[in-house]
Amino acid sequence: MKKQLFATILLFLMLLSLNACADTPAQAAAKSGDAVYIENKGSDTMVNLALAWAERYQDLRQDVRISVTGGGSGTGIAALLNNTVDLANASRQIKNEEIDKARANGTEPIEFVVARDAIAVIVHPDNPVNALTLEQLSDIYSGKISNWNEVGGEDRPIVRLSRETNSGTHVYFLEVVLRLGQSDNKTLFAQNTLLLPSSEGIIHEVRQNPNAIGYDGLGYVPHDLKVLAVADVNSSVYVRPSIETVNTGTYPIARDLYIYTAGQPTGVVKEYLDWLFSEEAQTIVADLGFVPVDKPHYP
């Protein structure tokens, strides 16, 4: 009995000393470092990119954990404003109302351009149409053209596919393609445009339906679909999307991809953002079919 008590006390003391050992300042820092989580949410276009970044960064920094979720640019920015995430990915620029809301909450959203993206217009591989002008695309999506034979294709109805309205890609496509970049142009999507909740939905429908036309970030388009060449307004040169044509500015439907923070980033979040502009991180951008940015675009 006495022996048992002694053993218990000894064990207790050992545990205590072990605990004391673990609490040296450096180790405590490492320990608290273990608990550094970065929450990252937003654009579905950027989800694969953000995941690839997060995975590589976590290999470099064992003390940082990054969780990435999609949901759409609007969803990410809303989460940033509600203070549930550290970084919001967005494939469109933040709206004025959203900035106002952030200011009402007492923070200032800070913008970083972390990559560029081309929007590819996709059709079924059997569709004989290879190229469209921006005006034709606008007429197709606004409902003025509803048969493929009006743009040199077969006699088939056009089924228009689009992302849901909470997608940054949707808003960008509306402004640059449907409205041809004119701010006084109030053209809207045809009412029978199918609004699909995911990129996958669009790709699947285009893959099996020869009537369909859709659009998606270039990084997401699989090789078995046909990517159309697009001519800019007042131009007769049809350009296919690629890293070169986006960087030279000849492909007309390309845009910046953003990450927003609430207030100037500090600590681990800042280190992560700095790393995103490193050569390593920007190589990942190119590998995934997006277009790298040359230097940090600090505001």
Partner: protein, 298 residues
């Protein structure tokens, strides 16, 4: 000992009473919340806009008519699938099937009811929609019809389960009497058993319809979500956007307190009122018939 018992009794009665009332409290709270978040819409959006035919909230077009018509047409389609197949299956299980078949069928149908709706939606995108397009020569297979067929499949287990119970509880003497009078098996089912179980079968149908109108994930995946006003049954073959899919797709994005946010709650309110009407109609029909049945029997 006796005091303990009465104390236990007291607590248990109160607990049961509380849980009974809590349902009423919850429904009232939910409705109050919907009203509080949804009614401001009437002040913020002009009625002409709210009851127009264009839904495009990011440009302040808040016409909810296409969404209401979308939900209705998908639900009607689902009812056309679920009622004949559901009631038919229930009759087969309760009246016709031999004992061993009934013992296999009933759990299987109930298993179907446990299938997650997102799985059915996935099947719809991969198998049903492409085949519908080819079979019916439609521009696209993502239509109200695809939604109706899947929602029908989702509601069938509910209808079967409740209707079968109702048919099962019809006293054996009814059937014996009908058969003794020389009625055929079909006449017995159609003229005696089914009318006797009418209130239970109606409840089953209403529960099934309620299940269909509130379903979200499947319709969001397969109906194409195009906010076009459905004007006739022909709209079954074109894409529609339902109220539930709209709320699910857009609620994540809206800033709380905005016009769009209030409008989504307003849609929720409309949905709530529609299912309330369905339920009240169903129960009033059921109650009325019960009274008549009691009169006849007495």
């Amino acid at each position: 000992m006796e005091k303990d018992l009465s104390l236990g009794e007291f607590i248990i009665t109160r607990l049961i009473k509380a849980s009974g009332y809590s349902a009423i409290v919850f429904v009232t709270l939910i409705f109050y919340f919907l009203l509080r978040e949804g009614l401001p819409t009437l002040g913020e959006v002009e009625l002409g806009n709210l009851f127009s035919t264009r839904w495009y909230p990011i440009e302040s077009y808040y016409g909810i008519l296409p969404l209401i018509s979308g939900s209705l047409i998908v639900t009607i389609g689902a009812a056309m699938v679920a009622i004949p197949f559901g009631v038919g299956t229930a009759i087969f299980i309760a009246e016709i099937a031999p004992r061993w078949a009934r013992e296999i069928l009933k759990p299987l149908v109930e298993l179907l009811g446990g299938l997650p709706s997102v799985v059915l939606g996935f099947l719809g995108i991969l198998v049903l929609a492409p085949n519908l397009r080819i079979l019916l020569d439609l521009p696209t297979g993502l239509t109200a019809l695809a939604g109706s067929l899947l929602l029908g499949a989702i509601s069938i287990p509910t209808v079967v389960s409740v209707a079968e119970d109702a048919l099962d509880s019809v006293p054996r003497s009814y059937r014996d009497a009908a058969l003794a009078l020389g009625a055929t098996r079909w006449q017995t089912i159609w003229r005696v058993t089914l009318p006797a179980a009418r209130s239970g079968v109606l409840t089953a149908i209403m529960l099934g319809v309620g299940r269909a109108i509130g379903e979200t994930m499947t319709v969001m995946m397969v109906t194409g979500n195009a906010p076009v006003l459905a004007t006739s049954l022909a709209s079954l073959f074109s894409p529609v956007r339902t109220m539930t899919a709209t709320i699910a797709a857009e609620m994540g994005e809206v800033a709380s307190g905005s016009v769009h946010y209030h409008t989504l709650f307003f849609i929720g309110m409309v949905l709530f009122i529609i299912s309330l009407i369905v339920n009240v109609t169903a129960s009033s029909v059921v109650f009325r018939q019960k009274k008549r049945a009691e009169r006849v029997l007495s």
